[in-house]
Symmetry: C2
Subunit: 190 residues, 2 copies
Amino acid sequence: MHKELLVLGLLLSGPLSGYDVHRIVTAHGALYSDLKKGNVYYLLERLAAEGGLHVVAEAGARGPRRERLVYALTDHGCQMFGDLLREVVRGYTVAHTGIEVGMVFLSYLSPTEAIHLLEERRQMVVERRQLVERATEQLHEQLAQDHLVSLMDAELGWIERSVSRLQELEKTSVPPQQPTRCPGTSVEDC
Amino acid sequence: MHKELLVLGLLLSGPLSGYDVHRIVTAHGALYSDLKKGNVYYLLERLAAEGGLHVVAEAGARGPRRERLVYALTDHGCQMFGDLLREVVRGYTVAHTGIEVGMVFLSYLSPTEAIHLLEERRQMVVERRQLVERATEQLHEQLAQDHLVSLMDAELGWIERSVSRLQELEKTSVPPQQPTRCPGTSVEDC
DNA sequence: AGCAAGAAAGTCAGTATTGACTTTTCGATG
DNA sequence: CATCGAAAAGTCAATACTGACTTTCTTGCT
């Protein structure tokens, strides 16, 4: 749903082809959500069918299609953009990266391995954080960046705390509460 | 991808029918990702086709199908669980809730409206936070909760900061930098 | 001039996800 | 004891998304 917003938003600053949209998004890297090529073309077509975009020109291109379609916002598309923007900002949706699910089930691993995995994750996050943290001068892009960075920092803090608590577990209770239920075998050798 | 993990994980503690899986997930509310009914059945079927699950029994049921299928983990499924768990925990993926995208494009609204929208969002987050924050005694569920709560707190902090900066903008530069590009009209009346 | 490597600009068949509909059974109520 | 509404337990057609493949240019080298 925010993918539509992204496409419409980019088109606010002028007409673009599908290729352009994809290029811009991937160039901005981690700041925007990832948007696969196929998806971009699909979205453009659908938004056009809904009357939010219209084909503006068929610029000469180098690819297999001799002309590439360039899309522009219609008035209705502009309206759609506004509506979506309000909707997206208002509606908080929990970020489901899967780690919450993973965390719940880490109990099926030994604390030692759990800690190890979390450390690996920490590394990942730190690297990503650096990628995102390159400066922009645009205020609003800064705020968007700040958002991502804050989330990452929160995650780093969380990892820290989780590791500590697992370390306590590791020391105090060996073997720890292992809800072993794997059919036949111990969970450890799954 | 973490949906598979969720399903497999729940089955670790014993066989379940599709209905059960869905019930458990929705009962836990915000802690897990949302998993629609249709999706559950699809996942179960696919995982079974891949040899991770097998049908264990056909308990009597009240629904339209007189017997409902009950699935259990196979050894291979247990293996799959372990692999997925490691993969999910290791791989950090940025949480794309759409707000980053929204934030970038908030520049197309007046600072005043932007602030207003963010305040509404704050409200939402606060409410959700309360929902998530009900206690569990399970250590690992606590850690999962802690994760979500941390993210929400990070978001609240971010909203705070963003609002401040937009307020400055509001005061110092009226009318602010408005990249008006909506075809024909001013962006404000989109 | 000829050729290989790579980038431009997609297409499309397969896979995943959604949401609206269905059918049966149960419990409560008049 | 007829029936009305809700919950159980799904199904399925439509929609969205992905990734692997394709074709045409351009550039750089020999």
